[in-house]
């Protein structure tokens, strides 16, 4: 399924099956299932991710292997969604994937409404922190300086904000597919 991605150099057979990589591959499978709700593509993406990690690891030292692995998997998921969209534009306007996609759930009007309500209800300071961090990609330190609070407090607002959003989805019954 991933074979049409360009720049794909390693083929599945060439991935070294050392113990460490197995653990990474398992974690990425799990990550993709929970991240996207797509069980059908988790194996493919995990395999491709490990192939790329091996390649990168040969050329340079890697800080956090899992953080990099999850980021590569995110990119592959995006590529896949893009390709599927193109395909569905050609085939059928009302096309639906057989598997639910978490991204589709979270981009839906309903999810946006839940986020909106949750953001409106939270303290304005926390909302401001979330906008600056997620939308404007400002650092915790610069947010703290602007809003006259400590970087630690900024971190707490972000963490709390994420939990608020997660709870709001749950309470609204928006199904976060991918629970095992």
């Amino acid at each position: 399924m991933l074979s049409s991605i360009r720049d794909l150099e390693a083929t599945p057979g060439t991935v070294p099956r050392e113990d460490g990589w197995d653990a990474v591959q398992t974690a990425v499978q799990r990550y993709v299932r929970s991240r996207s709700g797509r069980h059908d593509i988790a194996d493919d993406i995990a395999q491709e991710t490990v192939a790329r990690l091996v390649e990168l690891g040969r050329m340079q030292q890697i800080g956090s292997i899992f953080a990099l692995a999850f980021r590569i998997a995110d990119n592959l998921l995006t590529d896949m969604h893009r390709r599927e969209r193109r395909l569905s534009d050609e085939v059928d306007d009302e096309w639906q994937s057989e598997e639910p996609s978490m991204d589709r759930v979270l981009d839906s009007r309903r999810a946006v409404d839940v986020f909106n309500r949750c953001l409106r209800r939270m303290p304005p300071l926390r909302r401001e922190v979330l906008i600056r961090r997620r939308l404007n990609q400002e650092s915790c330190r610069s947010i703290g300086e602007d809003l006259a609070i400590s970087a630690k407090a900024v971190e707490k607002h972000i963490t709390r904000g994420m939990i608020d959003l997660r709870k709001a989805l749950e309470l609204a019954g928006v199904d976060l597919v991918g629970h095992d």
Binding site: A23, A27, R30, Y31, V32, R33, S34, R35, S36, L56, M59, Q60, Q61, I62, G63, S64, I65, F66, A67, L68, F70, R71, I72, D74, N75, T78, H81, R82, R85, R86, M102, D103, R104, L106, D107, S108, R109, A111, V112, F115, L119, R120, R127, L130, I131, R133, R134, L135, N136, S139, C140, E155, T159, M162, I163, L165, R166, L176, G178, D180
Partner: protein
């Protein structure tokens, strides 16, 4: 859902924030890897929160709540309409085809991952009247105009330039996994593989012109634009002006020319001040608001001043090592 799950979600939320910071030390990276390996539920919680945190839905909701604060200055050139009501995920994906929203997110994560040893950092500056070409290790080139300062930071997973002053033309080598961004203090430009000019006229006014490819400009407060080749944008505080007719392979200044198109005299003078050996000043700030159109040879300041003087019936003289333009 027991309290143990609850704890895991809190930990995951903290990790998502930490892993999206620009600098990560090796110790924190190792700690994250240990946390992930410790319990399969950690991966799941991290993945679910990542999905929420990175979703277009959250982006739109935050944008919406941010806009209520800045609704008064709706930008004229905005084409970031992913979040208008009625735009379902179909459009969201359509816009992702450009890959820019994702590239921005990836960039943030990317910077996280680079251990310090592998980070290349360098600063370059040009004096007034001199230009310089900087070749980066990734194959990209930066042409710096006079009186320009840049700081470059390249990691195995990100490429970032801070334009601290002046103007530079970027010819970016395309890379699939690694984005390229330019920060001008007020606006930030993210690209894939492309050629564009960024001009930081002063702290407030930033001009971006695209010669090849597609760039995304983020001016903060949720103001984002996507500029294809041939277009440009001038962001001045709250005001935004879209520019057309960006032609040729690269900007005129790289060949000593400046193309003014209903450009305020002040802007022309600011540009002249990068190339002129002597600074140009206005005797009256109001002169800066006069508009000029035409092709000016900026490496010959006296000729440019003659032309401005002729257009608006002004005069100029040398005084105390400076050129003074007056009525």
């Amino acid at each position: 859902m027991g309290s143990e799950f609850h704890d895991i979600d809190w930990q995951a939320a903290r990790w998502i924030d930490r892993m999206s910071r620009p600098v990560q030390d090796a110790e924190m990276a190792a700690e994250f890897d240990r946390w992930i390996l410790k319990d399969p539920r950690h991966v799941e919680a991290y993945a679910r929160l990542s999905a929420i945190w990175q979703s277009e839905g959250l982006h739109c909701a935050l944008k919406g709540s941010g806009e209520t604060l800045v609704a008064a200055n709706e930008p004229v050139a905005s084409n970031d309409d992913d979040c208008r009501p009625g735009h379902a995920w179909r459009q969201v994906f359509a816009s992702r085809r450009a890959g820019l929203g994702v590239a921005v997110m990836a960039l943030v994560l990317a910077m996280v991952l680079a251990p310090r040893l592998m980070v290349e950092e360098a600063a370059f500056a040009t004096p007034r009247g001199a230009t310089r070409i900087v070749a980066l290790s990734d194959g990209s080139t930066i042409r710096m105009n006079g009186a320009t300062r840049i700081a470059v930071r390249i990691t195995p997973w990100s490429r970032h330039v801070a334009l601290e002053a002046g103007e530079a033309f970027f010819d970016v080598a395309h890379e699939r996994l690694r984005g390229f961004s330019v920060d001008t203090g007020g606006a930030s430009v993210s690209v894939l593989g492309t050629a564009f000019d960024v001009d930081r006229l002063d702290d407030d006014t930033h001009v971006v012109q695209v010669y090849r490819g597609l760039v995304s400009v983020d001016a903060g407060a949720g103001r984002q634009w996507r500029l294809p080749a041939g277009s440009g944008l001038e962001v001045s505080g709250e005001r935004v002006r879209s520019l057309r007719g960006v032609t040729g392979q690269r900007p005129g200044w790289t060949k000593g020319w400046y193309e003014a198109n209903d450009t305020p005299v002040l802007q022309l003078v600011q540009r002249l001040n990068r190339t002129s050996a002597r600074p140009v000043v206005l005797s009256d700030p109001a002169l800066g608001e006069l508009l000029v159109t035409g092709r000016f040879q900026t490496d010959r300041p006296a000729d440019v001043l003659d032309a401005i003087a002729a257009i608006h019936d002004l005069r100029w003289r040398e005084k105390g090592g400076r050129y003074v333009l007056s009525r």
